[in-house]
């Protein structure tokens, strides 16, 4: 078969995988939701444990670090809260995407389902979990009597961009980790470092003249695209462009990976 033909066929198969995966939405929403329930099964609070976890972190870090940085609690705590919610999503995608395909081995080997279905299931579960964290943000707004204004609605497109990036990244990470089993470990160390070097519990202006250290960090922009509107500020043009650029690169990498190696996933797991 000529190479061009082969490429067209691979492309058609990848597109078919995508449309089939979308059509399976009753299945992946259910599986994604079951994943959450499974994780918190038979605990009284269920998925709201994630909420409690973030709430305690936000209060503790907000109180202590506002003293260290000499910032008002009313300023730092909402900042930490919005940042942690966004970071919680990003980091859990990076940490758990490694088992996206290898963890679904029993399914993949027994039944032909579109591969992107597993990506949808994964991302849906993560989004549903983030939704449980949002109440803390609203409680903080009430407590500190802050009103971010209509700008806060800009967080929605920001969140959509984050979700799209999560889908692309989890596909790439999931495939790469199915083949090379040490990738999840590398990511685990990376996530830990990123949490400290990215302005989540601290603000970029604390860097003073060295604020480029934050601006050069792509994860700062990914967080800022959601956090800034939640705090009543429009994200900067730089943040918007960097996020869009990340999305494009992320999409290209995931797309190429999927086109090239889709058929190999079953052999890798």
């Amino acid at each position: 078969m000529p190479a061009g033909n082969q490429r067209n066929r691979q492309f058609a198969l990848a597109v078919a995988d995508f449309t089939a995966a979308v059509g399976f939405w009753p299945l992946w929403t259910r599986l994604g939701w079951n994943d959450i329930l499974y994780r918190y099964r038979r605990s009284t609070l269920g998925p709201f444990w994630s909420t409690v976890n973030i709430a305690i972190t936000v209060i503790a870090l907000g109180l202590v670090y506002s003293q260290i940085f000499k910032l008002p609690v009313a300023q730092l705590m909402p900042h930490v809260c919005a940042g942690l919610i966004a970071w919680g999503f990003i980091s859990s995608v990076m940490l758990d995407a490694g088992s996206l395909f290898s963890g679904s081995e029993s399914y993949i080997r027994q039944i032909r389902l579109p591969y992107l279905l597993y990506v949808c299931r994964f991302v849906f579960g993560k989004v549903a979990l983030v939704a449980h964290d949002l109440p803390i943000y609203f409680i903080l707004l009430l407590y500190f009597q802050i009103w971010p204004g209509a700008v806060a609605l800009c967080a929605i497109p920001g969140l959509v961009l984050l979700v799209i990036n999560a889908a692309f990244a989890s596909l790439t990470i999931g495939m790469a980790s199915a083949r090379f089993r040490d990738i999840p470990r590398i990511l685990a160390s990376l996530v830990q470092i990123l949490f400290l070097v990215t302005p989540i519990i601290w603000t970029p202006d604390l860097l003073g003249p060295q604020s480029y250290l934050a601006q050069a960090n792509p994860f700062f922009h990914l967080i800022e695209i959601v956090r800034a509107p939640l705090l009543g500020v429009l994200p900067s043009a730089l943040t918007l462009w960097v996020t869009l650029a990340i999305t494009v690169v992320n999409g290209l990498v995931a797309g190429c990976f999927f086109l090239r190696f889709r058929g190999r996933i079953a052999y890798w797991i």
Binding site: L27, Y107, R109, Q110, R112, Y267
Partner: protein
């Protein structure tokens, strides 16, 4: 049954080759791979030594409506791999698999069973997994429930079920709809005798309704009862293909001679 792919074929395989790379510790590690690349093979040499198992070699077959095929052969001959290749689980390294119609794989009935969910929820989940829409599931639910004979147990989490009860449940879902291409592995032979008697009537009805059936089994008696065509697989290639009785006879003669090669 012809070897040439034709328009009426529902399942057709054209010179399909499937080989499994064996990822031994070393080649699975990115670090070793990098070391290997960087040092031109001096360090971490094992990363390059990739063993490949040829599971199917140049398998060409074309099945049309009404074909009931039994795959026979020794363990490791490639029966399960062939089934999974038809199911689209393994994409061939070389060659092509073309199928038309809904594929009903019955390999592992326990896939997707979640022990903490109730019987009802599991029926729902499994049916979604098999590609049924929520409204179809709603419609077939009474029939499924009736066949499982589990009654009030369906309200309980599946982890409280015995293995036999789980089998009934997944079996009922797996056989509740019209199959087109039915692929079955030898799990059929497992399970308690009483249930199997009932299951067999249901499976044979299921088999009758299917357009194409491919069954991999060591049970030659079952093969000759349900199938009209036999494919004898030997170390990844088709050794014999033809009417079931003839292929079984040849296979039995071969086995009784001690499988001399």
């Amino acid at each position: 049954m012809t070897r040439q792919p034709d328009a009426s074929a529902i399942v057709s395989l054209d010179r399909v080759r499937i080989s499994f790379p064996i990822y031994q510790g070393g080649s699975r590690s990115l670090k070793k791979r990098m070391l290997f690349r960087g040092s031109a093979g001096r360090i971490g040499r094992d990363a390059g030594d990739q063993i490949v198992i040829e599971a199917l070699r140049e398998v060409s077959v074309s099945l049309g409506a009404g074909d009931r095929v039994a795959l026979i052969g020794a363990n490791g001959a490639g029966k399960t791999t062939l089934l999974r290749a038809i199911a689209g689980i393994y994409e061939p390294v070389q060659g092509e698999v073309v199928t038309r119609g809904r594929i009903s794989p019955m390999f592992d009935l326990n896939v997707g069973i979640d022990g903490d969910l109730s019987g009802f929820d599991n029926i729902h989940l499994r049916a979604l997994l098999l590609g049924l829409t929520p409204s179809e599931i709603e419609r077939r639910m009474p029939e499924i429930v009736e066949f499982t004979e589990l009654g009030d147990h369906l309200e309980m989490p599946v982890r409280t079920y015995s293995a036999g009860m789980i089998l009934r449940l997944s079996f009922a879902v797996a056989t509740c709809f019209e199959p087109e291409i039915l692929l079955m592995d030898e799990w059929i032979l497992a399970g308690d005798a009483q249930f199997m008697a009932k299951a067999e009537t249901r499976v044979s009805r299921f088999v009758e309704r299917a357009t194409v059936v491919v069954l991999a089994s060591h049970n030659l008696d079952l093969c000759s009862r349900w199938c009209n065509t036999g494919i004898w697989l030997d170390r990844g290639s088709i050794r014999e293909i033809g009417p079931i009785d003839q292929v079984i006879r040849q296979y039995q003669t071969f086995v009784s001679k001690g499988g001399a090669r």
